[in-house]
Amino acid sequence: MKVFVTGATGFVGRYVVARLVANGHEVTAFVRPTSPVATLQTAIETGHVTVARGELSTGLGLADAMSGHDVIVHLAAVKGGDYFSRFAGTVVGTENLLKAAQAANVTELVAISTFSVYEYAALKAGSLFDESAPVVTNPKGRDEYTETKMYQDELYQDFGALPGNRMVMIRPGMIYGRGEEWHPLLGGDLGPVYLRIGSKVRPPIVYVENVADAIALAAQHLHSPANAPVGDIDGLVINLVDDHLPTQDEYVNKLKVLAIGSDSITFPRYVKVPFQVMKAAAVAAQAVNVRVFKGRAKLPGVAVPAQIDARFKSFRYSNQRAKSALGWSPRFSLDTALERCVSKRDLAADILAAPAQES
C-alpha cells in the first residue's frame, strides 16, 4: 500500500510514518519546502519513505506528489497563531489537499480530527462519552483551534460523501508523548501562574505511539475492508483514548517522579484549583461580560465556561469502537509510555523493529 502522509515530520507524523513502514507500506512524507526531515531520518534510511516537498496552504507541489497513492493520512494542522493563520494552514490546506486528491483519483482518506470538536457542555458530567457525543455546530465560545478543526471536519465529510470516495475520521483525545508530556487538560497558563484545574478528573489522553498504531490500522482497513475485523470502516468516526485513564493527580504524580533527574521534562510551577471553583468563576465572568460588556469582552480560555467544560469536565471515555473496528489496543500503558518519553531511545527505531498489531 502506498500512503501519502501530511504533517509527516510533526509530533504525531514521525511515529505514523515509522509505524506504516514497520507494517510493510511505502510512504510519501509531504513536507514543507524548507522543513528539516531529521525526525524522519531513521524511517527514511529504510528506503521505504520518499520525501515530497510542497505547501498545503497554497497547494504548491501537491498535484505532482499525490498521484499513484492508495491512501492519504492527513495529519497536518496549525496549532498556533491567530484565527487566520490557523484557517489558512488547517482549513485551506485541507481544501487544497482534497482537491488535489480528487484530481489525482486518490480516493481513500484517513482524516485526523480531534476531541476538541465535541460539544462537552451538552453532556452531563459523569456520562459515557463516545462517538455519539454531539459535535460543535456554533463555535462561539470555543477557541480558534476548535473552530478551524470544525471547518476541517466539514471538508472531510464532503470528501467522504463524493461517489467512489472512502473516508474514516480518527478523533484522538489529548495526545501526549516525548516533548509533550505536560498537556492542556491539566490546566492553563494565567500570566505568571499555571493553574492546575481539577485533580480527580480522568482526561481523555492517548499516548502518541498508540495513536500511530491506530492510524496505521485505519489506513490498512480502509484500503482493504475484507481484512477489517468487523467490516468496512468507511464513513466511521473513531475516538482514540488509552485504556485505564489516570486521574489528573495520578498523571502529574507519575510525571513528577520521572521529572526528577530528567533534562527532557519541563515541569511548571502550579497552583491547584478545583474544577467547580474554576467553572463558577468562569460562569461569573461570562455573566459580567454579557450584562456589562454585551458579550464583547474576549476572556482567556480558562475564564470561558464552554472551554472549561471542554478541557476539564469529567466523563467516562470509551475506546470500544477503536478496539472493535480497528482491532486496536493501546500497545503502551501509561507507565511504559512515560518511561519512553524520558528515555534516550530512538523511538522510531523501536517502532521499525516492532511487529504490526494483530487485528
Binding site: 519546502p33 498556533g80 497563531g81 484565527y83 487566520f84 482549513v91 481544501e95 471547518y151 469582552a297
Partner: protein, 368 residues
C-alpha cells in the same frame, strides 16, 4: 445624481478573506449603512466560512461572477496588492464604488491611472487610510487645526514591528508573503500608513528634500529591506517643516509612535499602546507650565493604562479607526459627497513612497 439618495443600506461586496477582512466584515455585518450581499475568495471554503460568519448574502469564488450577480454599490478589495488594479477596474466597470486596502498600487503612476479610471466611471476609489481615524490621531489633528501647539514644525512617525519573527507571516520561507514583491518590500505593508499620517499631521507639507536610507540588517533573500530611516525637509503654508519616518524590525516593543512638534508645544502618542501627551503653554504662567504639563499628562497616562486594559478586553484594537473610516466613507457614498480619503491624499502618499523607493540601493546588509 448620487448613487444612493435613499436611506437604504448600500449593497456591499468583499473580495478577499484574509486577516484584514475581519475588520471590514465586522463593520459590514453590523452597520445599518451596509448590506453585505457577497463575499468572494479563490478558496471556496474561505468564501463560504466568511459568508457564514458574517451573514453575507452569498459566497463566490469568481469575482466577475459575483459582481454580475449581486449588483454591489460598494466593493471592498482586500486581496494581495498585485491584484488590486485588475479587481478595482472590474468593480468600477460594474458601477460600484471601490474601497481598496493599502497599498492600493505599487507606484504612484498606477494609482493615478486607477483613479482616472474611477473618475471616468463616475465612481469613487478610496484607499484604506484607517489610522487617520484612530481616536488619538483624530484628537491630534483637531488640536493641530485648533492651533493648540502653534504652527507644526516637525512630525515624526516611528514604527517597530517584528517582521523577522520566524513565526510571523512575513518571515515564513515556505510561504513567501506577496508584500515582499512590492517596491519597498515588507515595509511597503505599513509605509502607506506612515506617509498618509505624515501628510495629515504636517498640514499637508510639500517635501523639498527627502533622504531615505534603506537597510537589510537581517540579510537573506526573502527580505529586500527590513529597516528604513527617512529625513524630510519641506514647507507648508505657514513656513518650514521637518519630517522623519522610521521603521525598525530590531527594536521592541511593537510600537507606532507619532510626535508632532509645533512652535508652541508638542503632542505624542503610540497607536499600539495608546496615550496622549500634550505639552503646551498652560494658563498658569511660564514658570508653572512644566509642572502643569507633568500633572496633566501624568494623569492622562494613568487613565490610558486603565483605558487600554479595558479596550484590550473589549477588543478595541488599533484597527478601531477602520470602522470610523468606513462609516464616514459609506456616509459620503450614500450622500453623494466627497469621501474622507480623497484622490489627492492617495496620490500624495504614493508619490512620497516613490521618492523614497527611488533612493533604495539594493545591496546586502546595512547599506543605503
Amino acid at each position: 445624481m448620487p448613487l444612493n439618495q435613499s436611506d437604504r443600506p448600500l449593497r456591499a461586496a468583499v473580495i478577499g478573506t484574509g486577516a484584514i477582512s475581519a475588520q471590514h466584515l465586522a463593520f459590514l455585518s453590523s452597520s445599518p449603512r451596509a448590506n453585505l450581499v457577497g463575499v468572494c475568495d479563490l478558496s471556496p471554503v474561505s468564501a463560504k466560512v466568511a459568508a457564514r460568519r458574517h451573514d453575507a448574502g452569498g459566497s463566490f469564488t469568481d469575482a466577475a461572477a459575483m459582481l454580475d450577480i449581486v449588483n454591489a454599490d460598494v466593493v471592498h478589495i482586500l486581496t494581495p496588492p498585485n491584484s488590486h488594479g485588475f479587481l478595482a477596474r472590474m468593480a468600477l466597470d460594474h458601477g460600484a464604488h471601490v474601497i481598496c486596502e493599502k497599498p492600493m498600487t505599487a507606484t504612484s503612476d498606477e494609482a493615478v491611472a486607477l483613479l482616472n479610471h474611477a473618475s471616468l466611471a463616475k465612481r469613487h476609489l478610496v484607499e484604506n487610510h484607517n489610522y487617520r481615524f484612530n481616536d488619538d490621531v483624530v484628537t491630534m489633528h483637531d488640536n493641530r487645526v485648533a492651533g493648540t501647539i502653534g504652527t507644526v514644525r516637525e512630525v515624526e512617525i516611528r514604527m517597530a514591528l517584528p517582521v523577522r519573527d520566524p513565526k510571523g507571516r512575513f518571515a515564513d520561507e515556505n510561504l513567501p508573503n506577496a508584500i515582499h514583491k512590492m517596491p519597498a518590500g515588507v515595509i511597503h505593508d505599513v509605509l502607506t500608513h506612515m506617509v498618509y499620517l505624515l501628510d495629515h499631521l504636517s498640514d499637508h507639507a510639500t517635501w523639498d528634500t527627502v533622504s531615505a536610507t534603506w537597510s537589510n540588517h537581517g540579510g537573506g533573500d526573502l527580505f529586500k529591506v527590513d529597516d528604513l530611516d527617512t529625513v524630510l525637509v519641506g514647507h507648508h503654508a505657514n513656513g518650514s517643516v521637518h519630517g522623519r519616518l522610521r521603521f525598525s524590525a530590531q527594536t521592541s516593543p511593537d510600537s507606532f509612535g507619532i510626535i508632532v512638534r509645533g512652535s508652541e508645544g508638542q503632542m505624542s502618542t503610540d497607536l499600539f499602546h495608546p496615550f496622549l501627551d500634550i505639552r503646551k503653554a498652560r494658563a498658569v504662567g511660564s514658570q508653572l507650565t512644566p509642572i502643569a504639563n507633568h500633572v496633566v499628562n501624568g494623569a492622562s497616562l494613568a487613565r490610558a493604562g486603565f483605558r487600554n486594559f479595558g479596550q484590550k478586553l473589549l477588543q478595541h484594537s488599533p484597527y478601531h479607526g477602520l470602522a470610523r473610516f468606513l462609516d464616514e466613507t459609506y456616509t459620503a457614498f450614500a450622500a453623494g459627497t466627497t469621501p474622507p480619503v480623497t484622490p489627492r491624499d492617495i496620490i500624495t502618499a504614493a508619490q512620497l513612497i516613490d521618492r523614497m523607493v527611488g533612493q533604495m540601493r539594493l545591496t546586502q546588509g546595512a547599506t543605503q
